[in-house]
Symmetry: C2
Subunit: 422 residues, 2 copies
């Protein structure tokens, strides 16, 4: 099997960059710390990863991570060199295999004391991965069709409080939001199949409301039921959602794993909403973990239709630049035009971020999810939703929000309520 | 459903510790950033996580992670307070559910800008988890029985080079090691089911050697075949291993995920060897991720029989203290005496670490895995293995290695070869 996997990393080390790049390449392919009889030149030529590029970055005085090897000449003289490096792994070592890809490109290399920082930035995968793995089943077009929303973002919310509501209380909130014309509602990642609000009862209560409303209005609210669970239960929950007429399921990606998501993808008849909770652990440190660009490729290949990207001016630690990069990453095809994921913009969104989001990404192919921004609107959730619609209309038409608000009282109220909070 | 889940964290923040602890508790239970109508006192009393303890630690001048909120009074006056905190989550929010537990105790909380560091240290789970999840099927006793090794560590090695060998070359190495009397051999995590060395052909070639040897000597080498793959393939690989008479399968835990491991556990007829590659990402930063103590509880509940713990004086970044804590964690029962995992000691091991390993852990219930330490022994792999046996005998009997070496030439050679390398 010919072909190669390229992996780009950001590293930091007090040793020579070339040496450390070679160590990383060796550790994650045919290299050994001590020479062994079987590591012949022929074997190395076939199986050893190669260092393709080294692009030096800045030099700093302090290591980013503990556990690095003692520099020669003593710690007080140490300089820590940063660089981006690209390694090339022979496809023949692993084949087109997602779980083994993970062990190869983000496995034991974080452990090496040769570096004081290592982060996987991006992956370039050969076509064999696109042939082997299904990718998203619905992506943007399929989701828009099911939600009945075109030419603007799919506007949604999260059931809040995250946990504590009964199925009936959840359904009551869905009724209020559905009557206000919402496109999309999702469970919180904390609300899965707990004894106080079982998936089965929640699906029954919520879908009764959604189906009744759809019969009346012709618009079916897309509700992402959190079916995160052990594998058999997750597939069963999916069937429960489908049998009740539901149009979306959600999973916490890190909780179910790539093989779990792939099983769901192969089984699923409706879009899969991928929640990235836990991702801060992968991403928050600039010299440890995995960047979103690499991360989202794995989950898309395994079948996620929607992927969380945080939002601009969010309530979390992440910068706007990083969020914009994530949105662009999800929208960039890998192997075919429709294997993109629909970016899910959320976290502290209330509509005020719509102009900047549109200016920087140039797209409305987004799910735009506001929690408090809708539910805590001073005129109630229905007005909160109208305010979001107004904000996006202004954003796309290039009208300043404040100007648009003069003729749109819900938007005016939302600006007064949330506009000063940051 | 009554009961609670306790989660202990190490945090760092420039805000008041009590406030941040409450924010974490709220974010991961019923709290919302903005008050919403449904968050009643009754709901909070039932669903909100509680702050049980706050134990302040040191105060530092620089934040551990970027993205923290701007401190009041400006960055130049900021102090960053560290603490250990314990949160109590109502079991009724999620039930005994491993995937949702992950989303709850190591989900979005890493994202919060209220802190500049957050690491999950330990979990205390209520009995409902022990009732729902199977735990290890073989653990120490079952593994010892299958390997036929008692009263000393199970001594093993890793096939090296990690990738590049054909099935026949792998089998040839297994023959050499098996004839030398080795107990255990494992695939490298990079060697799964690649086109150059498919699992099926490797199992056939290796088990032919192992079975022939067992017929002759009565001792069957335990070989951990790396069956990491998509779920259906993984279960099929397991059956291939069993059909050929194999006695162990290995998976890369982060590659298959908790639901993937659980499916394998429910299907499996032989011990599951859990490889932790990628774990450096969880562990290397003291204020980000998950400590081993918490981490290993999740994988044991889902069924791992063996868990990698690194080794003393290892080639990686980790301290001996951390490795010792990991060994103790694996050996501490959770819900029943036999739900421990067998610690797999590896990384740069050559026997010289045996006395200190035994002194600090007081146990031989270990798998002790040496790669180069056996395969690169100057007198060959068989002598490398005898040297390991001699080192452990000396360790347990309290004889200094150098003294034992005077009457054991293989140990003497190993000390000369590897003793000065650190």
């Amino acid at each position: 099997m010919r072909g190669a996997i390229l992996a780009r990393y950001r590293i930091e080390t007090c040793l020579p960059l070339e040496q450390v790049a070679e160590t990383l390449a060796g550790e994650q392919s045919s290299g050994t710390f001590l020479p062994v009889p079987g590591e012949t030149e022929a074997l190395k030529a076939q199986a050893r990863a190669k260092v393709l590029r080294i692009d030096p970055l800045e030099v700093v005085d302090q290591p980013s991570l503990p556990g690095g090897r003692q520099p020669r000449g003593g710690a007080e003289f140490a300089k820590f060199h940063r660089a981006e490096i690209t390694l090339e792994f022979p496809l023949a070592n692993l084949g087109a295999n997602l779980p083994t890809l993970v062990a190869t490109v983000c496995g034991n290399l974080y452990e090496l004391s040769d570096h004081t920082g290592c982060k996987l930035l991006d992956l370039d995968l050969p076509p064999a991965f696109g042939e082997k793995y299904p990718g998203p089943q619905f992506s943007v077009a399929g989701t828009r069709k099911l939600a009945g929303v075109h030419d603007r973002p799919i506007l949604g919310t999260i059931v809040k409080p995250s946990v504590g509501f009964t199925p009936e209380q959840t359904a009551e909130l869905v009724r209020e939001l559905g009557e206000a014309g919402i496109d999309f509602i999702k469970d919180d990642e904390l609300q899965a199949n707990g004894p106080s609000c079982s998936l089965r009862e929640r699906v029954a209560a919520v879908m009764r409301v959604i189906n009744t409303l759809a019969d009346r209005t012709g618009k079916k609210v897309m509700y992402a039921f959190n079916i995160t669970d052990d594998l058999d239960a997750m597939l069963r929950h999916h069937d429960t959602v489908c049998a009740a007429g539901g149009t979306c399921v959600m999973v916490s990606l890190h909780s179910v794993g790539l093989p779990g998501l792939l099983e769901l993808r192969r089984h699923s008849a409706i879009p899969i909403h991928g929640h990235r909770n836990g991702w801060g652990m992968y991403a928050r440190h600039p010299f440890l973990g995995v960047e979103y660009t690499a991360w989202q490729k794995l989950w898309r290949l395994a079948g996620a239709d929607h992927l969380h990207v945080n939002g601009l001016q969010n309530k979390f630690w992440e910068s706007d630049d990083s969020v914009v990069r994530s949105i662009q990453a999800c929208r960039t095809p890998m192997f075919r035009p429709d294997d993109t994921a629909m970016p899910v913009v959320s976290s502290g969104q209330w509509g005020g971020q719509a102009p900047e989001t549109y200016r920087r990404t140039g797209t409305t192919d987004l799910m735009y999810v506001a929690g408090g921004g809708i539910l805590a609107h001073p005129m109630g959730p229905a007005a909160g939703l109208r305010a979001l619609q107004q904000a996006w209309q202004a954003a796309v038409e290039g009208i300043p929000l404040a100007e648009h608000a003069t003729t749109h009282p819900e938007l005016m109220a939302t600006i007064h309520r949330f506009g000063g909070s940051r």
